[in-house]
């Protein structure tokens, strides 16, 4: 290290990382806490209590918690069941099914909600209409505008959190752990109860907590399905407060108080999740590649297989088809017949209408820009966190943890407080404010992916390069960066694709010309422009699926290269 200069490259990077995190992440959060706890320059707790006990905020709080709890329970049940079926039984086409079960992840939940609204809204929903016509009744089959409607829709699109964690754990688990129990005389039921479940419990809990966190912070589904019938959650209540307030301080304060609740719950959830994941007692990874014994489902094999297929058809195919079919309709309400269909809507949305054209363009450049900046900034910060020994690093570590527990709504609010002129910069109603918010929102992904890549680069590799005569900078350029490039590219995609379909944050930040795709779909739906909402949603789905396929290609090619090189 350069010991003569007082301010070497290490210190420079450190200060730069600190600045990024403070300006982008810490300041907004600080302002949220400040706004909710400090009234007229004094710390005031009773004002906070007052906000929380107001009936409508209290209802929203209660609803959010109840909803998150129910969604967590259902997702855990559904996710664990399917994970077990595709890893530990003789279900047909298991490998394919495993991939298919992660597809619901690709579908943005709010687009799912939109589709199900058209299928199951009490009067106009296609399924309900069909049902009522079939049985000549006036009671719909199911009213999607309800608490359970929201629970079901969120479950459909969030259960992969649990599925991925649990199927991964079941696959990695050393099967001899179960086999030794069998040899010891235990039957399948005892083994499941005493060995398998305790061993995969951390994975189950970890997945469940992710669901809980996501559901608490999720805007789209309750906004589309709940607002209509007066069901408010924290994010939708905040949205309502901000939109109706037109800058009123009481409304902003109420919103910040609820944000504080969100941040604190998120922090508790993440802390617990971290603890569960780290409980190193459960190192159950198989030593050798051994194949787990599979349970023969016998008579249940076909019924369970059909159940899986039906589940996928209902949760993935049906809503997607609905979105595209309605997007093709001349006007909403016409029967779904070929004669009523036209590509006009898609054409209009893509090439004619300024609002939607703007939205597509905005989303593309905002996600691209945010992904690039966040990838690089996250890389620098991770480098300091993982590789450098500088004083005061713990503070940076703390700041680096922070983005993980910031729900999108909170970030939007914090960004509004920070960038609407308070510090001499006012970018409210411009694309920049969304850009800054995206960076804050996705910094966590970048940090995770970059740190993981950096941890793989052993210090001795850099030392070897230094011993060969390279300066620290040259070592970084020629050794470290080439080695972590895959991690950085992964970070890029991890940010770009979710940002493309983002709704929760941008819905609080958009101005007249700065709608994103998500916002445009949401507002079009609100304004009753259902066919255009669907056409745009169709375009969004195509973009998302295209992007996912590109990433898969990229990583598969990379994997092949890696294997070939080794």
């Amino acid at each position: 290290m350069n010991r003569t200069g007082k301010f070497g490259i290490a210190e420079l990077l450190f200060v730069l990382s600190l600045l990024i995190l403070i300006v982008i992440v810490a300041l907004p959060v600080l302002l949220i806490f400040w706004t909710s706890f400090v009234v007229d320059g004094h710390f005031n707790l009773s004002a906070v209590v007052e906000v929380l006990t107001k009936p409508d905020t209290f209802e929203a709080l209660k609803m959010s918690l109840l909803l998150a709890a129910c969604v967590t329970v259902t997702c855990t049940a559904v996710g664990t069941l399917f994970a077990w079926l595709v890893t530990r039984t003789d279900m047909p086409f298991k490998e394919t099914m495993k991939v298919l079960f992660t597809i619901p992840f690709m579908l943005p939940a709010f687009i799912g909600a939109l589709a199900w609204k058209m299928l199951l809204s009490p009067r106009a929903g296609y399924i309900n209409q069909f049902w009522m016509a079939l049985f000549g009744t006036r009671t719909p089959l199911f009213n999607i505008y309800s608490f359970w409607g929201i629970v079901i829709i969120e479950t459909m699109y969030l259960f992969p959190f649990v599925f991925i964690q649990v199927s991964g754990a079941l696959e990695r688990m050393d099967p001899t752990l179960e086999e030794s129990a069998r040899i010891a005389g235990a039957g399948l039921f005892t083994i499941t109860r005493k060995i398998t479940i305790p061993l995969i419990l951390p994975a189950v809990v970890s997945g469940a907590l992710l669901v809980c966190l996501y559901s608490l912070a999720h805007f789209g589904t309750p906004a589309i399905l709940g607002t209509e019938v007066g069901i408010y959650t924290i994010p939708t209540k905040i949205y309502e407060l901000i939109h109706q307030s037109a800058g009123s301080f009481t409304a902003i304060r109420a919103a910040t108080v609820m944000s504080v609740i969100l941040v604190l719950s998120a922090a508790v959830i993440l802390y617990t999740q971290n603890r569960v994941v780290k409980s190193g007692r459960f190192q159950i990874i198989a030593g050798k590649s051994v194949r787990p014994t599979v349970l023969k489902l016998r008579g249940l094999r076909t019924p369970l297989f059909i159940l899986c297929i039906v589940y996928l058809l209902v949760t993935v195919v049906m809503p997607t088809v609905t979105i595209f079919l309605v997007g093709l309709l001349k006007t909403y309400g016409l029967p779904l017949q070929l004669g009523n269909m036209t590509f006009e809507n898609f054409y209009y949305v893509l090439f004619k209408w300024k609002l939607t054209k703007d939205a597509i363009f905005n989303s593309l450049y905002l996600s691209l820009g945010a992904a690039l900046v966040t990838m690089v900034a996250g890389g620098i910060i991770s480098y300091v966190l993982v590789k450098m020994k500088v004083r005061g690093k713990w503070f940076l570590e703390f700041l680096g943890m922070l983005p993980f527990s910031l729900p999108g709504t909170v970030i939007a609010l914090g960004v509004i407080l920070t960038w609407s002129g308070r510090f001499g910069i006012n970018i409210y109603n411009t694309g920049w404010i969304i850009f800054v918010a995206y960076i804050a929102r996705y910094m966590a992904f970048s940090l995770k992916s970059n740190s993981a890549a950096l941890e793989q680069v052993h210090d001795s590799l850099v030392e070897a390069s230094r011993a060969s005569g390279a300066t620290p900078w040259q070592s970084l350029r020629d050794v470290v960066i080439p080695l972590i490039r895959p991690g950085m590219i992964a970070a890029f995609f991890l940010i770009f694709l979710p940002a493309l379909r983002e709704l929760t944050t941008s819905v609080l930040l958009y101005g007249p010309t700065t709608r994103t795709i998500g916002v445009a779909i949401y507002t079009l739906n609100e304004d009753g422009e259902t066919v255009y909402a669907c056409a745009l949603a169709g375009v969004a789905l195509l973009l998302i699926v295209g992007g996912e396929i590109l990433i898969k290609r990229f990583f598969e090619k990379k994997k092949r290269l890696d294997n070939g090189g080794a």
């Binding site: 086999e179 040899i183 010891a184 235990a186 459960f282 190192q283 050798k288």
Partner: protein
């Protein structure tokens, strides 16, 4: 009748025949090893005995009781076989203490509480784990985990103990120690052992008899001494201990090197059974080759390399394009690299 009987056992995985028409009997109290290179079907055979794999053909009996039969489609469930088994990665349960791990088989069996207590304590004493009883396995070393697995396998006093490379994750010193421990326990409780390994020294040290396998087929079943001294075929010869294989052709009734016929004779006769083929292979152990000054033996060569290995001295001698490895005691006459020498083969073994 033998305690364990495998009759014409065959197992296929798709196209691969993992075990091919295997017949085998193991006596009560015997320690029997499966030895062979990776992928030869040792684990698969063991897992069939344990009941984790069905059979394509054949049947298995233990203690006069049929436990697996492809013909009758009868397979006694693994949990009903009452064997002990130790897996390569130990497979101790990380969410149970050492005591709970070892007590598990007894609890499953429904043994009375106080008896579980005393028998588990006894097992833990036997394996020197008393002090660690209340710890979780991840706080313990590899050797200790290994002993937990062993104590657990022996908890119900099984008649047959199945071990799948149980020592391969341990360092050499511990490995030797555990070997003695297993032997001691066997002497004490008189169970039979099937021991899977690809380490020939381990198999030799531990077993009463060894089965050498290759590609799912039995090559030889014999005592360790016989497997070493009278290998049934070239594969067994090469797999057990160090070996030279020298390709020879007949000339004037003698055997000479194919690549250097003028370097002298390997043997002064050529076995008539290989005369038809016109070629054969002479196998010998490095210690069984005589290394003599130039002109004293049948085959002339040059010392290519020489290395001291403590008690023995290791030579590589080249003759034509053949390299022959030789080991001599350190007190015998020394040769230096580059010197010319002669070789004689007093105990050749002939293979085709």
């Amino acid at each position: 009748m033998a305690f364990v009987e495998l009759r014409h056992v065959t197992k296929r995985f798709g196209q691969v025949t993992a075990v091919d028409d295997l017949c085998l009997s193991i006596e009560k109290g015997e320690c029997f090893s499966f030895l062979g290179p990776s992928g030869c079907g040792k684990t698969t055979t063991l897992r069939m005995v344990a009941g984790f794999e069905d059979l394509e053909e054949g049947e298995i009996e233990v203690g006069g009781k049929l436990i697996s039969s492809s013909l009758k489609k009868y397979y006694l469930a693994p949990e009903k076989r009452e064997f002990g088994m130790v897996f390569q990665a130990f497979a101790v349960w990380p969410h149970m203490t050492v005591f709970e791990n070892v007590a598990f088989p007894l609890r499953i069996k429904g043994v009375a509480r106080h008896e579980i207590e005393s028998r588990t304590k006894h097992s833990l004493e036997n394996t020197n784990l008393t002090k660690q009883a209340q710890l979780y396995p991840n706080e313990l070393s590899g050797g200790e985990k290994q002993r937990i697995a062993l104590a657990r396998a022996l908890a119900i006093n099984p008649g047959l103990l199945l071990l799948d490379e149980p020592l391969s994750n341990l360092d050499p010193h511990l490995r030797e120690e555990m070997r003695f421990e297993i032997k001691d326990l066997q002497r004490k409780y008189d169970f039979s052992i099937i021991y899977v390994t690809h380490d020939q020294a381990e198999a030799m040290a531990l077993s009463d008899r060894i089965m050498v396998m290759r590609d799912g087929k039995t090559q030889q079943i014999d005592t360790p001494l016989n497997v070493y001294a009278n290998p049934a075929n070239k594969f067994v010869f090469g797999f057990i201990g160090l070996s030279n294989f020298i390709p020879v052709v007949p000339r004037d009734g003698k055997a000479v090197l194919e690549s250097a016929p003028d370097a002298g004779q390997v043997s002064d006769s050529f076995p008539p059974e290989f005369a038809g083929a016109g070629r054969a292979t002479v196998a010998c152990r490095p210690a069984e080759v005589d290394l003599l000054p130039e002109g004293k033996g049948g085959l002339r060569g040059v010392i290519d390399r020489m290395a001291y290995l403590g008690e023995t001295v290791d030579y590589i001698v080249t003759v034509g394009d053949v390299e022959i490895r030789i080991q001599k005691g350190r007190r015998e006459p020394r040769f230096e690299a580059g010197m010319a020498c002669s070789l004689a083969f007093p105990k050749p073994t002939w293979y085709e």
